[in-house]
């Protein structure tokens, strides 16, 4: 039987196991949306901006491990998802984005809402295709999902012209892909792995440095096993180790004699000054993406392969080499003790205040109240770093953050995406007034779908990270970092029909969080935090890893000028639970 392109689209998605699509309609995708609304088992989450759709799909994908699906129209619909595509590309998030395109006979004519979707998205997608013939549509969709989710995952864009969605073709969903140029390596080179095992047995001061690749390949158990067999401490990217990572992890990396990098890419926020990063360490680098290896940092033993598969091979060899666990323990004990000493010397600290709410205090309380079970999405900036430091999650796929691109406005839609995937789990969005205002239009999605996302908004009235740098390096000239007039977030929540709470004094934090977390629907908690709190430890840009700043440098005068950080409700009481 012949189906239209739009029907083929829906049927193909069903075959790929898709349940949820994030999107917004428009002229050239009318046919697809028309067929879509007649499908009972495909749920369209109608966002209020295409960027929201892209980040929701990212949140969905990061939390589930499955590809997130986006459907938007041509021209502005497509250009609005570019930030989401670039974000997904940087953080290796599997996305399949379908964009409408003007009819094939109009392409190149500057038609209404035409854009070169494939051209614009080329540098920020893993792969992209313009489907010119409806007979190719099913095969293209099959390949898009395969490419997005295999190897190093990433976003794939499929551009569907209007006439392709209306034309008919015989539907037969392919059972395999036909890509002679794409064949990601899975198992690692055996000799390299053996060599790695020998190095590991010898090393006295080894560190395991784990990146996002470990999560995509579901290798948490294998890493735990590796750490247990070898008694080597583990550190993670944008969870503990970065520009604002813990003192002890940065010190341990710096003085290590063997670095086992697992699915990590030596981001500049991790390494700081490259020439002084891990200066004495031998490096074993395991990654599925050959371009990640030796891109910024040298590797003595490169191993290209899927992290899980390689670690399984490695653990087997290590077990066979490791006759005596006590001996290994003895070999590594002084090193572990050293790392512990560093940890004790400079733990994460902040000064509690009676009058003003410290952001770290809020995250600490939140962590205590949610008992590690929550999925946490963050935006970008100081609050993200505080969340990384004080929300000590340790399970894969519960930490959704924009690590590579650093996209403000990512957090809230990502939280919605995760909540759509897991309606019964607790989903938190830790954000700030700056980031939140970049995608707050999606509040209506949470409201209409009654998605119980808990938004914890650390409202300090300034772009905190920018303000911190201006105080540290630009003599306190607050160029464009004071946000000035601020909306009343409680009233904003009310306008969207969701619950709003506010805390302005430290003793109001706990009641607000407790009540907010207990509430059944979505909640916006506006928490007024100290505008002048700085985030430490910190490696200044261009600084070396062991040269962290642990507190305000002596003599630093925080300018505290402008006063524009005044927020609605600052003077009085908070808006507390009744």
């Amino acid at each position: 039987m012949k189906l239209t392109g739009a029907e083929i689209f829906c049927e193909s998605l069903r075959r790929e196991g898709v349940k949820t699509i994030f999107g917004l309609p428009g002229g050239v995708v009318l046919k697809i949306f028309d067929v879509l609304c007649q499908q009972k088992d495909l749920d369209l989450v109608l966002t209020r901006h295409e960027q929201g759709a892209a980040h929701m799909a990212e949140g969905y994908a990061k939390a589930t491990g499955k590809a997130g699906v986006v459907l938007v129209t041509s021209g502005p619909g497509m250009t609005n998802i570019v930030t989401g595509l670039a974000d997904a590309y940087m953080d290796s998030v599997p996305l399949v984005a379908f964009t409408g395109q003007v009819s094939t006979d109009l392409i190149g004519n500057d038609a209404f809402q035409e854009a070169d979707n494939v051209g614009i998205s080329r540098p920020c997608t893993k792969h992209n295709v313009l489907v010119k013939d409806v007979n190719d549509l099913a095969q293209t969709i099959k390949e898009a999902f395969y490419i997005a989710t295999s190897g190093r995952p990433g976003p794939v864009l499929v551009d569907i012209p209007k006439d392709v969605s209306t034309a008919k073709a015989e539907f037969k969903y392919p059972d395999k892909v036909n890509l002679r140029g794409y064949n990601p390596t899975v198992g690692g080179n055996k000799n390299q792995i053996k060599q790695a095992a020998e190095e590991i047995m010898k090393a006295k001061k080894a560190m395991i440095y784990v990146g996002g690749g470990a999560i995509f390949s579901d290798a948490a158990d294998e890493i735990r096993e590796l750490a247990e067999i070898t008694q080597i401490p583990v550190t993670m990217t944008l969870i503990m180790l970065c520009m604002h990572g813990g003192y002890w992890t940065n010190m341990a990396m710096h003085y290590s004699d063997l670095l086992i990098a697992v699915g990590a890419r030596f981001d500049d926020r991790v390494t700081g000054k490259l020439s002084e990063f891990c200066p004495v360490a031998r490096v074993i680098h395991i990654d599925i993406d050959p371009t990640s290896i030796k891109k910024t940092f040298h590797a003595h033993i490169p191993i290209v392969g899927d992290v899980k598969a390689v670690l399984r091979q490695l653990n087997v060899i290590l077990r066979s080499l490791d006759g005596n666990p006590a001996q290994i323990k003895a070999l590594r004990a002084p090193w572990i003790q050293q790392v512990e000493e560093w940890r004790k010397a400079h733990p994460l600290v902040y000064k509690q205040d009676e009058k003003i709410i410290k952001p770290q205090f809020v995250i600490e309380k939140l962590y205590q109240l949610t008992k590690h079970e929550a999925i946490v999405a963050t935006d970008v900036g100081q609050h993200q770093m505080f969340a990384a430091q004080y929300f000590k999650g340790n399970r894969p796929r519960t930490w959704l953050t924009s690590g590579g691109l650093g996209t403000m406005g990512f957090g809230f839609p990502a939280a919605i995406g995760a909540q759509v995937a897991f309606p019964d789990r607790q989903v938190l969005c830790i954000t700030s007034e700056g980031s939140f205002q970049m995608n707050l239009q999606e509040l209506v999605v949470a409201a209409e779908r009654k998605l119980p996302v808990k938004i914890v908004l650390l409202n300090n009235g300034v772009h905190g990270m920018v303000r911190q740098w201006q105080d540290l390096f630009y003599e306190g000239r607050y160029s464009a970092s004071l946000l000035g007039k601020m909306p009343d977030f409680v009233k904003l929540a009310d306008a969207y029909g969701i619950k709003g709470l506010r805390a302005v004094k430290p003793n109001e934090v706990e009641p607000v969080l407790k009540d907010g977390l207990k509430h059944k629907g979505p909640v916006l908690m506006d928490i007024h935090t100290d505008p002048y709190e700085n985030c430490y430890p910190m490696i200044p840009a261009g600084g070396a890893q062991h040269e962290m700043m642990l507190e305000d440098p002596p003599g630093l005068k925080v300018a505290k000028k402008g006063g524009a950080h005044k927020r609605k409700g600052d003077e009085g009481e908070g808006v507390l639970p009744a």
């Binding site: 080329r122 540098p123 893993k126 792969h127 490419i147 890509l179 050959p290």
Partner: protein
Amino acid sequence: MEHIISVLVENKFGVLARVAGLFSARGYNIESLSVAPTLDPTTSMITIVTVGDDRIIEQIMKQLNKVVEVLKVVDLTETHFLDRETALIKVHTKPEHRDEAIRLADIFRAKIVDSSPNTYTIEITGDVDKVEAMINMLKPLGIKDLVRTGRIAISRETTRTASPRREPALLKN
């Protein structure tokens, strides 16, 4: 150091843009580029001449391999190879220069493929040194116009007398 990289790709629209974009996005320069279909009409061969240190070339090779439509990448400079370029050179021919132009074409085994009352157009094929030498020799006569194809290259088959050589770096699975 200069490298000649052969990239076998799917013969589809947009592939060249993707390959070229990969260079521009990383600030790497392409010295010359030539593209044409191969024996198999579903594939094209892109020959790229580029300059970079070992780290940059390694990244270029890996990035090229990562492109879904790229089937094979070979750094020919790692092997024994032949390279050729063709140039069409239009020179001014005052009456007293015509003999010299014909003589030079003869010495370089080039051909005069077009003539007009005031110009000869000379076609020369050879490795890059030969083409450049020819251009330099013709300069005193006055070059009116010049086009070059960019280099194409192919690996040599092993001969018994050849010294042991490294195999071409076939990175694609």
